[in-house]
Amino acid sequence: MVTSVLAVVRAPLELNALVAAVNDGTGGQGAVVTFLGLVRNHNVGRRVHYLEYEAFEPLAVKAFGRIAEEVRERWPGATLALHHRIGRLEIGEASVAIAAASAHRRDAYAACRYAIERVKQIAPIWKREFFDGGDVWIEGATADPEDRNALAEAERVACA
């Protein structure tokens, strides 16, 4: 199966496909680190029933491309695969899947952590939370790919 490495998808996420996609075929990779973000049943004291995600898809895919490029600049040789799901997601389902491969585990861990931080900072994706008694659009970071403070924070977290 051919997997687009960076994508916004509607179907359930397949982590194994991402693990296969980051294999560069050289035999020089020694580590793959993966991350799955799940829909949680509680948020700031609210009982969450489900989430609905939407994306500005063409810009989201470009943002993922930018993140992959940033990863390559910081951890040369690292490869990244990233899928974000949209639509209605039930509790326990995966909303985002990331795989990062590198020669050594340190870089693979850092690249994976960096990527999820950057997704949360700049990807034009929104979640609407449906909870006991109502629903609300969750609003997090002001998306600015060139914000130096955000970049520094993602690097700090990745290398902590």
Partner: protein
């Protein structure tokens, strides 16, 4: 000239539409379009400092001058992941 405006998440709910067509004067910027929209939909003003914008699906600053046929997108703070 004519531009298309795309709105997402709560901005779309406020305006009641995901896509709007707007006539703007030559030399208009993204900011011009935003201020006109905020005049039409006062609730949008809360987002003055927190929105991001894009033209033709690329991030762009509010002072970007628009061309006829451009698609301008306004993005509230994001919450992916």
């Amino acid at each position: 000239m004519r531009v298309t405006v795309r709105l997402f998440a709560r901005l779309r709910d406020i305006a009641g539409a995901s896509e709007l067509a707007r006539e703007v004067a030559a030399g208009a910027t993204i900011g011009t379009v935003w201020r006109e929209l905020a005049g039409e939909y006062p609730e949008l003003e809360h987002y003055e400092r927190s929105i991001s914008s894009a033209v033709n699906a690329d991030y762009a600053r509010m002072d970007r001058v628009l061309c006829d046929g451009d698609e301008v997108a306004f993005l509230p703070p994001v919450s992916g992941g």
